[in-house]
């Protein structure tokens, strides 16, 4: 299976943005790299068709997010067996003190996967509600309700609540 024409150039241009998106979804670089590589590997066999019909970055991002949600579905059944996840504790060893980045990571991880995906697509990838709905294959109403619930939760999150409160003037 040869490398598709234009694939390498696309990865060079977009990998940083895709990795950052994936970091917000997974919360760590190992997971982010795995997610981006998996999503790109899925697009590889269809690359020439993808570049013909649509903006490839839109398509790849859709694959990225749906792959993430697929992982979460499969993993959620396993997590019952695994029990409590040691991720939090490990994170705290690495990031000491009130690190805003760690607060964001922890707050994002506290969100259910679909809410997390909506936050990332709407506010990091700057998609509209209807574009977000198209990526997730749900209604605009569902996007709105996921976003509202996620926002309410983020505004309660330790380390973020002050930044996201009404009172701060820009």
């Amino acid at each position: 299976v040869g490398e598709p024409v234009g694939f390498r150039e696309f990865v060079q241009v977009h990998s940083r943005g895709l990795l950052r998106t994936a970091w917000l979804l997974t919360g760590d670089w190992a997971g982010a790299e795995d997610l981006v590589q998996t999503a790109l590997a899925k697009t590889w066999p269809r690359w020439s068709a993808i570049t013909r019909q649509d903006a490839p970055e839109v398509y790849v991002r859709r694959v990225l997010v749906t792959t993430f949600l697929g992982w979460r579905r499969r993993r959620s059944s396993r997590e019952v067996l695994v029990g409590s996840v040691p991720e939090r504790a490990v994170g705290q060893e690495v990031f000491t003190g009130s690190d805003l980045r760690e607060s964001l990571r922890a707050a994002m991880r506290s969100l259910p996967p679909r809410q997390r995906a909506v936050i990332v697509l709407r506010y990091f990838n700057d998609l509209t509600e209807s574009q977000t709905a198209a990526v997730l294959g749900c209604s605009i109403g569902a996007v709105k309700s996921h976003a509202a619930r996620a926002m309410a939760r983020l505004r309660q999150a330790p380390g973020l609540n002050e930044l996201l409160s009404e009172g701060i003037g820009a």
Binding site: R16, W29, Q37, L40, V90, R101, I119, A170
Partner: protein, 272 residues
């Protein structure tokens, strides 16, 4: 977007770290060649918590230091949906030589908490998560709105800054209201209202500040309203978000031109 959504957007853009390394096309290729089953096995494997962020942060910082030292400006394409895309080098960006070691002549005016580095001081580059940004309008020239942007070290230890800040922007057209990333071309050097001091190595003690002047152009009419600057500094991959309201104009179909001076010590920007 409401103000809370704007703030969350700024938070996500400024706090999400830059990746430690690029995606390897060769690794993807080998996954594909191992077949579809293998891809599925990869996708299902437990992605345990492997934190190699700290070890790689230094590498990223070094890369960014080089990029920053070359005066590479961040070019954001509007509407492409890839915020945080890789920096491009706009043709009109002037590069200034940045000394790899501070020149003894490169002394900056003394101000509380800041001094020019007396040679090899073992102080790390300032990390954006420890920097707070604020701004003061100067009015600038009639067609060159100018801000003095102040970066204050909120960390617990001294750190160094050198050279020109990187700038990306968010905003909207004068008639619009929804902010999004806007394309920008950053030119390093003097601006209408202030003279570029050239790159100096600055040491910011805790509480110390450095500043630079930033101008846009508004030739007769304001086409864009900038609502957010995302500021990078050489030596760190993150950005500092600064909410603003600033007019700008650009030639048709071109990125918005922005001029920045090098950083100087203190909170009043370079002299005229």
């Amino acid at each position: 977007m409401n103000p809370i959504e704007e703030r969350l957007t700024a938070l996500l853009h400024s706090v999400t770290p830059q990746p430690p390394r690029a995606v390897s096309v060769d690794e993807i290729g080998s996954r594909v060649r191992k077949g579809r089953t293998m891809v599925d096995v990869f996708s299902m494997r437990t992605r345990g918590v492997r934190w190699y962020a700290p070890a790689l942060t230094a590498t990223v910082a070094a890369v960014i230091l080089i990029a920053g030292g070359l005066g590479v400006a961040v070019l954001r394409s509007s509407g492409s949906g890839t915020p945080g895309g890789p920096p491009a080098s706009p043709s009109s960006t002037a590069t200034s030589p940045v000394p790899t070691s501070p020149s003894p002549l490169a002394s900056a005016p003394a101000s509380p908490g800041v001094h020019s580095s007396p040679a090899q001081q073992p102080v790390g580059s300032c990390q954006t998560r420890h920097l707070a940004a604020s701004s003061v309008g100067t009015g600038g020239g009639g067609q060159a709105p100018t801000l003095i942007i102040v970066l204050t070290n909120r960390g617990g230890s001294a750190c160094t800054l050198i050279g020109y800040p990187g700038i990306s922007i968010r905003g909207h057209t004068a008639s619009g209201s929804a902010s999004a990333p806007l394309s920008v071309t950053v030119r390093d050097g003097s601006v209408f209202a202030r003279t570029d001091p050239g790159p100096h190595q600055l040491v910011l003690r805790p509480g110390g500040a450095a500043s630079f002047a930033l101008e846009t152009h508004s030739a007769y009419d304001v086409q864009y309203l900038i609502t957010m600057f995302l500021i990078t500094v050489p030596g760190d991959a993150g950005t500092v978000a600064l909410p603003v309201t600033m007019g700008a104009a650009a030639p048709p179909g071109q990125p918005i031109p922005v001029g920045v001076t090098a950083l100087v010590a203190g909170n009043t920007g370079p002299s005229q």
